[in-house]
């Protein structure tokens, strides 16, 4: 039964979960980029990579919680821009204290998400269509109200947080940016929600089989409304992080730019589009993979303009490699079971 010692490491790597495979791809990419471009591991590059990946992780979470129920939220970016401008309005125009502005922005995000969930449950229309329409409504409404004028006079402390870091720096290893700590804290909260709370298990049950969940007494409609409100609040959190990183509230950020990252991070990380399966760790690794590829190609100075091509190709390749590994594992297990 026991595999030969020589095979243990390789079999561990092959038999591990999807997240292990993803982690391996990441390690290989980091080794390649670090070798090809010394600038990749510089303090400056690592710091900027971690600060941008922190936002992408939370954007991925905003999509992940809806994917858990088998739905989609195409308005993540639209809620994001609304939250960006609303936070700027609360801090700069109304002059509210930062914690109040943060709470107000998160509440707006949750409310817009709730509207999505409410419309989906009440009309019975597919979440794709409802959120496609609400994305137009939200960003159109935001532009009508703000006239697309950016807000640059945010409190300096708010922008300073986006640049700050926690813990000491060791040699070339930089301190951890505060934004990355925020992303990890949100991840921990979601991990506990999905792993150890009744509500989280109910969300996954709805995603795996809504009819069966309904018959087991789970309030399916209420669960769907909840995940959309949570998705809105997470999009607003990502928006706050982005506003803090840029130290300004700009209407041109987020929006359509979030569509691709919001799906890639969870899907690469093993979250199923059909619902019922999520991975918080996978989403974090997925966002890291996307940012690593982007950052690595930028440091290697492979023409900026070609970047989206490589990004699309690398991502398909990463998904394919992971699929191939999972299929190999399944075959191996079937063979051993005989």
């Amino acid at each position: 039964m026991d595999p030969a010692p020589r095979r243990t490491i390789s079999s561990f790597l092959l038999r591990g979960s999807a997240q292990v495979g993803l982690f391996l791809i990441l390690v290989v990419l980091w080794a390649v980029f670090a070798n090809l471009a010394p600038g990749f591991l510089s303090k400056f590059n690592l710091n900027s990579l971690l600060r941008s990946v922190a936002v992408d992780i939370v954007v991925g979470f905003a999509q992940m919680v809806v994917l858990a129920t088998g739905g989609m939220n195409l308005s993540v970016g639209a809620i994001g821009v609304c939250a960006v401008m609303f936070s700027g309005y609360l801090m700069q125009v109304l002059g509210l204290p930062i914690p109040v502005a943060i709470a107000g922005t998160l509440a707006l995000g949750a409310f817009l998400g709730w509207l999505n969930g409410f419309a989906i449950v009440k009309t019975g229309v597919n979440s794709f269509v409802v959120t496609l329409a609400s994305a137009s409504l939200f960003s159109g409404g935001m532009l009508i109200l703000t006239k697309a004028v950016p807000l640059n006079g945010l409190p300096p402390e708010f922008g300073a947080f986006g640049k700050s870091a926690v813990g000491p720096a060791f040699g070339s290893i930089p301190a951890i940016p505060s934004l990355a700590v925020v992303a990890l804290a949100i991840g921990l909260g979601l991990y506990l929600l999905f792993k150890h709370s009744t509500l989280g298990r109910q969300i996954l049950a709805v995603g795996a089989n809504a009819r069966a969940a309904e018959m087991s007494g789970i309030p399916v409609d209420r669960t769907i409304v909840f995940v959309h409100a949570l998705s809105g609040a997470l999009a607003a959190a990502a928006a706050l992080m982005l506003t803090s990183r840029l130290a300004a509230a700009m209407p041109a950020v987020a929006g359509d730019d979030w569509l691709l990252p919001s799906f890639l991070a969870p899907v690469i990380g093993g979250t199923a589009l059909s619902g019922g399966i999520v991975s918080v760790v996978g989403t974090i690794l997925g966002a890291l993979l996307v940012s690593t590829i982007r950052s690595g190609l930028l440091v290697l100075e492979i023409g900026n303009f070609w970047l989206p091509l490589f990004l699309g190709a690398f991502l398909l390749a990463a998904i394919l490699i992971e699929r191939g590994r999972a299929a190999y594992v399944a075959r191996e297990q079937a063979r051993r079971a005989l």
Binding site: G140, G141, L307, P308, G312
Partner: protein
């Protein structure tokens, strides 16, 4: 009369007529020959974009790369004419072929890898946009043949020459989905893929054909956009996503697949064009167009469901 209201697109037609009358009364410029020409020309590209997505909805899939694919074909065609000096007709043919090839890549990847088509086309959209930017370095191709640009701006009275292409495509698509075997196969796969497979329909072939057809339609849309603008802008297609889904869905297509309406899609594009035209005529903030488009999608799906329930009851 009752059978008219049972038709899926009856609501849209009523909306177009009521909106048209209201607009003609409030803004006399609406009925001027030039305004009607502008209105008709504005729907040419949208119509093909909508058909490109409608085909995918028919087979029960989505194509998020419609805009990126159309944009890529636009700059490839423009680049062939401007940088390489290829004559108009061969350049257009190569552009359309490139669109079909890109659609084939979408379909082949979806079928062969088993990855959800939504994710595949999201990734290829990024790839196509990257090739577009890599070729153009974000600089448009301006130097296009005069006959090509003249076609994009030409008109007979209020009838734009450009409109010939989408009208022709409409007829061909209507025949394809009602009479041709591959068209019927696509709808069968969209309606119930396992049942279609058991009935001897090749599901992979139907999905790949739908992707190729979608790519061809997006390619023609991209080329028409170049003719209309008079230059091959790298930004062509970047704002097609919402309209590509909005028109077929307002027109009554089901996201579950198998049910599409060409007349409904056509009327939905006209209605959206009418709203955009109205915003210009009554001088409203252009941002309202985006807002109203969202409201219109929601209202239409709501209305369609309500109507379906009522028809089911009677």
């Amino acid at each position: 009369m009752r059978s008219f209201f049972r038709l899926q697109w009856s609501g849209i037609l009523v909306g177009i007529i009521a909106g048209g009358i209201a607009l003609a009364l409030s803004a006399p410029a609406f009925l001027s020959e030039f305004n009607l020409f502008v209105l008709l020309r504005s729907i040419c590209v949208s119509l093909l974009v909508a058909y490109s997505q409608m085909v995918m909805l028919g087979v029960g899939q989505m194509n998020l790369s419609v805009g990126a694919l159309g944009g890529l074909v636009a700059v490839v065609t423009g680049g062939l004419m401007d940088a390489l000096g290829v004559p108009t007709l061969p350049a257009i043919m190569i552009g359309v072929a490139a669109g079909g090839a890109a659609g084939f890549v979408n379909g082949w990847l979806t079928v062969k890898t088993g990855i959800n088509g939504f994710i595949v086309t999201l990734a290829t959209a990024s790839a196509f946009a990257g090739i577009n930017l890599g070729i153009t370095k974000a600089v448009p191709f301006y130097n296009l043949p005069a006959d090509f640009v003249a076609f994009g701006n030409g008109r007979l009275g209020l009838f734009p020459l450009l409109l010939i292409v989408p009208l022709l495509v409409t007829v061909v698509l209507a025949l394809f989905f009602s009479r041709a075997v591959p068209g019927r196969h696509m709808l069968a796969v969209g309606g119930n893929a396992p049942a279609a497979q058991l009935s001897g329909v090749s599901v992979p072939r139907a999905i790949i054909s739908a992707h190729v057809l979608s790519g061809l339609l997006a390619a023609v849309a991209g080329i028409l956009a170049v003719a209309q603008l008079g230059s091959a802008q790298p930004t062509i297609g970047s704002d097609w996503l919402v309209i590509s889904f909005a028109a077929p869905i307002i027109g009554g297509a089901s996201l579950a697949g198998g049910a599409i309406s060409i007349v409904g899609t056509l009327l939905a594009v006209v209605l959206i064009g009418l709203i955009q035209n109205a915003m210009v005529l009554v001088k409203v903030d252009p941002y309202w167009v985006q807002f109203l488009l969202g409201a219109l999608i929601l209202a239409a799906v709501w209305f369609n469901r309500y109507r379906a329930v009522r028809v089911g009851e009677s």
